[in-house]
């Protein structure tokens, strides 16, 4: 074993364990005894909950263990490519790691044993694999590791939607797969290009190249475009967004929750920007991205108005949230970047909570389209209360987490794109309209006939919802612990990218243009 595994102490090993526990755990669950009866399904579920609880505990440990700066796990890997197995926890990744670990844990707790009867062991194995994939994306400090995890996330999601979804699940899964696959292939081409130029795939090596031996502008633009396409397709940026509502409403609630974790925009900020600073900060790139972001905000909000069920409304709302993230990243001020990071985190929480809540409802009523619902606040006051709170957080009500992120994005982007911010701000009106209209059709008015004897949340369901409520109010009133953690990493990333973009030798540009 090489001595140089990381920055010393136990933190690197915690980092490794965080990735390995769900990864190896998925194999473990996969080989658990299988049969059609509930006992084994229950066993698989309990083991999964246990493993995810360990993962969440490890993530929490890491949060407190790395109060500032980064922890790195680093061993040599494929030396011919200059690839190292490198994981790192930074102020950018830690909040999202914590989010992922807890979201997956709560989602499994919220999935009751009876609801998965088909190949239960396999179902839970996919969940663990998915968790490992998402955690790996956030923790990767090597482009090859990142790419592997990116693909690793794809497979279980495809299967979860296709096999354990509704009747339309397979179609939705395939669409999802094709979309993201096309993006991945583009990304692979860019990875090969940049890795061969830099002579390695670790972020350190790549950043060193970006800072000192920048790629020619056209190459940068091509690679940035390829990465950005992959990331933004995966994030469902308009016009590559239609797979998301299908996937989120035809798949199981858990898949919808996982799709709410914004891995794409994380990749955009942490990989595409630092590696191709000149292309990323090119005024045209910024304007194009910011405009796409604002279009996503408005388009997502408008289409959300027209949706026939609440889950699709939330999908389109999350497309609008993505627009805020893209706007914040392209404006590239410290405030807007912090805001973008926070929106990613918040969207995961509120979207996740909402999909689980709607899953609880779906379980009780067969048809959860709006025209079949009404007056549910009478029978289900607790579910009603949390749905209203999640809707308000989604709409960015101050005092909830949703406000802080959106506000920082908008106020931070205003100096650079005042007119675009003005347009994006219109979404506060639209968001209130589509969310409260949805709430009204589901919870208020006369009771629907079909909803005669639905019961309110059970104790364990209420406990899961309680965790989301605490997170939403907590981050709304006191976002500082998270913001302080992000701020340092965001500022250093912003400074590095800005400096590198300035240091691009014009000679390289000329050489590209003149021969």
């Amino acid at each position: 074993m090489t001595a140089a595994v990381g920055t010393g102490g136990v933190a690197p090993w915690v980092l490794l364990a965080l990735f390995m526990v769900p990864l190896i755990g998925s194999l473990l669950v996969w080989i658990l005894p299988r049969s059609a009866d509930d006992v084994h399904a229950g066993l698989a579920r309990n083991v999964t909950i246990g493993l995810l609880a360990i993962t969440a505990a490890l993530a929490t440990t890491l949060w407190f263990m790395v109060p500032s700066g980064t922890a790195t796990f680093d061993v040599p890997w494929i030396e011919d490519f200059g690839a190292r197995f490198q994981l790192a926890a930074t102020g950018l990744s830690l909040p999202l790691v914590l989010l992922t670990a807890f979201l997956m844990l709560l989602s499994v707790i919220a999935t009751d044993r009876e609801s998965v009867t088909l190949r239960a062991a396999s179902y839970y194995a996919q969940i663990l694999l998915l968790t490992a994939g998402i955690l790996g994306i956030f923790l990767a400090a090597d482009l090859l590791v990142f790419y592997l995890c990116w693909e690793l996330m794809l497979v279980p999601l495809y299967l979860l939607i296709g096999v354990w979804g509704t009747g339309k699940g397979p179609a939705a899964g395939t669409t999802f797969f094709i979309y993201t696959m096309v993006g991945s292939l583009l990304m692979l081409v860019a990875i090969v290009t940049v890795a061969s130029a830099a002579g390695g795939t670790t972020f350190d090596v790549l950043r060193e190249m970006a800072a000192n031996r920048p790629l020619p502008v056209t190459t940068q633009l091509f690679c940035f475009g390829a990465f950005a396409s992959a990331f933004l397709v995966k994030s469902a940026l308009i016009p590559f967004h239609t797979w998301l509502p299908d996937a989120q409403s035809e798949g199981p609630p858990l898949a919808a929750v996982a799709l709410g974790i914004k891995v794409g925009t994380y990749g955009l900020l942490v990989i595409a920007y630092p590696l191709f600073p000149t292309a990323a900060l090119h005024p045209t790139t910024r304007l194009v991205l910011a405009t796409l972001g604002v279009i996503a905000v408005l388009y997502g909000s408008l289409v959300a108005l027209a949706q026939p069920d609440f889950r699709r409304v939330i999908s389109y709302a999350s497309i609008a949230h993505l627009g805020f993230v893209v706007l914040g990243i392209s404006a590239f001020t410290p405030e807007s970047l912090n805001g973008a990071m926070l929106v990613m985190l918040n969207a995961g929480i509120t979207t996740g909570g909402m999909f689980l809540a709607l899953g609880f409802l779906k379980k009780r009523v067969g048809d959860d389209r709006f025209h079949a619902l009404g007056g549910l606040a009478r029978q289900m006051p607790m579910l009603g209360a949390v749905v209203v709170l999640f809707a308000l957080a989604n709409a960015g009500l101050p005092g909830t987490n949703g406000f802080v992120g959106e506000f920082l994005v908008l106020i931070g982007s205003f100096s650079r794109f005042p007119m675009l911010v003005l347009c994006a701000t219109i979404s506060v009106i639209l968001a209130a309209a589509y969310l409260l209209w949805s709430v009204q059709r589901m919870l208020f008015g006369p009771s629907a006939e079909t909803a005669g004897n639905v019961t309110d949340l059970t104790r364990s369901e209420a406990a899961v919802m309680g965790c989301f409520v605490v997170a939403i109010i907590g981050l709304g009133l006191a976002p500082s612990p998270v913001l302080n953690r992000m701020n340092e990493s965001v500022t250093s990333l912003a400074n590095r990218v800005t400096l590198s973009s300035l240091m691009t030798p014009t000679a390289a540009v000329d050489a590209e243009v003149q021969p």
Partner: protein, 687 residues
Amino acid sequence: MLSSTSASQVIWLVPLLPFIGFVVNGLFSLLPAWRGGTDGTTPASRRLTVSAVGVGVMVLAFAMSIWLATQVAGTGNAVTSSLGEWIGAGSFHVDWALSVDQLSVLMMLVITGVGSLIHIYSVGYMADDAGFARYFAYLNLFVGFMLMLVMGANLPVLFIGWEGVGLASYLLIGFWFGDTANAAAGKKAFVVNRIGDFGLLLAMFIIFVNMGTLDFATIARDHATLSTPLVTGICLFMFLGCAGKSAQLPLYVWLPDAMAGPTPVSALIHAATMVTAGIYLIVRNAALFSAAPVACLVIVLVGALTAIWSAMVGLKQWDIKKVLAYSTVSQLGYMFMAAGAGAYTAAMFHLVTHAFFKALLFLGAGAVIHSMHHALHATHRHDDAQDMRNMGGLLRRMPVTGALMWIATLAIAGIPPLAGFFSKDAILSALAERALESPLAEASLGPVPGRLVLWFAYGVGVITAFVTAIYMTRLMRYAFHGQFRSGADVETKVHDAPWVLRGPLVVLGALTLVGGWLQLPTVLPLGRTGALAAWLEPITGRAATLLTGTGTLAHETEYLLIGIAVAVAIAGIAVAFVLLKPQALTTKDAAPAEHGIGLVLANDYFVDTAIRRGITEPVVAVSRKVLWRGLDLGVINGLLVQGSAQTFRVISAFASRAQVGFAGSYVWAIVLGTVGLIGMFALGVGR
């Protein structure tokens, strides 16, 4: 100094108390174990606990507000407190900071004082309601947010309160959510308010980008560095926010619908407190507004137009609450005329007196509705308990309520020496004074000179006073005089309100009688003159002088203005007595259809229909038909996705198996590749 320190430690308790009430009563309504009754009603013992919590926190908050007022009066300085950073990123920093100064403590006294009375009243009014605990939870929640709004030391903390009161209002308007119309009214209120919030957000963005802060104190101190067009822009965006929250043209449309909520809610939120938040915001930022004369003239103009626009509608309403709702919109217009003209004291004065007499009117109307509802219910009738055509002669059955409502009616009409007379006169005199000579008169609104705008506002103010006297007298005559129109069996069941309802009415009646003494004009020295102006001097004094002329009105002019105001009020009452014929009225069900101008006014100029047909429905239709069905499902999914999927199928059919095989085999390729790479990693570690 010592007392000031202890004051700053406890100011957080003031908003915290109602929030605690919200949590406790919220749990009472939500948790099955705490809910008590299983049959949908609230048992008396539980009701007692809920009321004790709900009213208790209010009375405590009121007592603390009084104590804080003495602290502020004693030192003359604001009591401030910061709990450290709320949001911090890059160069943006906002603290959890409260500040209690002369202006906020005045608002706090109104909110907690009138609020306490309305909470007590609610104990009786809502006694039979299944959602008793939920009601008090929401009402406490409202007060908590309203206190944050007026106590916040910076714009984002104010904004928590600002949107929070909107939330509480949404919940309370739709309190009886079983009826879709009520829920829809709540949603409408929230969405229309958000149009205003859009403006307030943009104002914040511009201020922060140009000044690097959102603290009120810093903005007031340093705004001179901003150019006039910039300040004008900020003020206009901010005023958009005010127009939403305080129901001014064209954003007033939510307020009449808001009457769907329980009547004490209308009294507290939609008359006395929340809807005045826009006035508060302008007065709070008086320094900024006084530096933007064009914005000020816009505000004066919008206020004037709103005042007359909705007063006219009030003439043709039959629902007793709707009359009061349009009246509130109209009176808020007066307050904006004053605030726009830089008469900040007059605006705040009218805000306070209006809180007294309008709360009294609403609570009185509530007592009438309560009684009518019970009487109709007891006789198994399903008539509208709020329609004045179904009433008549109620003064005989409800003498206390009727007498108190007459006091409030005379007050709002502007009859001396009631509170409304003094505050309305203060506004009209201020408008005339500034029209005669002031920097504002010299400024111009586009091609229109400021002087003209101010005279127009004064004229509209006088005419509106006349209309106000008519519609209020109309309300009183139709409801309380003449014959009872819903049948003798119902009439005998109508009784005056129980004491828990009447008590708050009496207190508000007393305040309506003496409220004018807060700010006596110099020409009527019936006590200490100008007390409120002196109290607010540290906050608005400097800003007011920027918009005011050097001279004051001659005493003869002031007497003339007072004479005109009183004359139109008396004329309005007289006209209502001469022209209206209550004996010709029939009940709502038998009433003939309106036509002509009456139809237009009864339907609020069909503004709602126009908005629905012109904005709401087209937006939803375009979203559904063009964007979703057309672009998303049609072009993107149908053409591009399905098209490429077909292409893939054709290719993969050639390559190997068809359809699922494509994605399926890829999955396995990835799985194998992953395993292989993990294997390599293992080898790498071993080396």
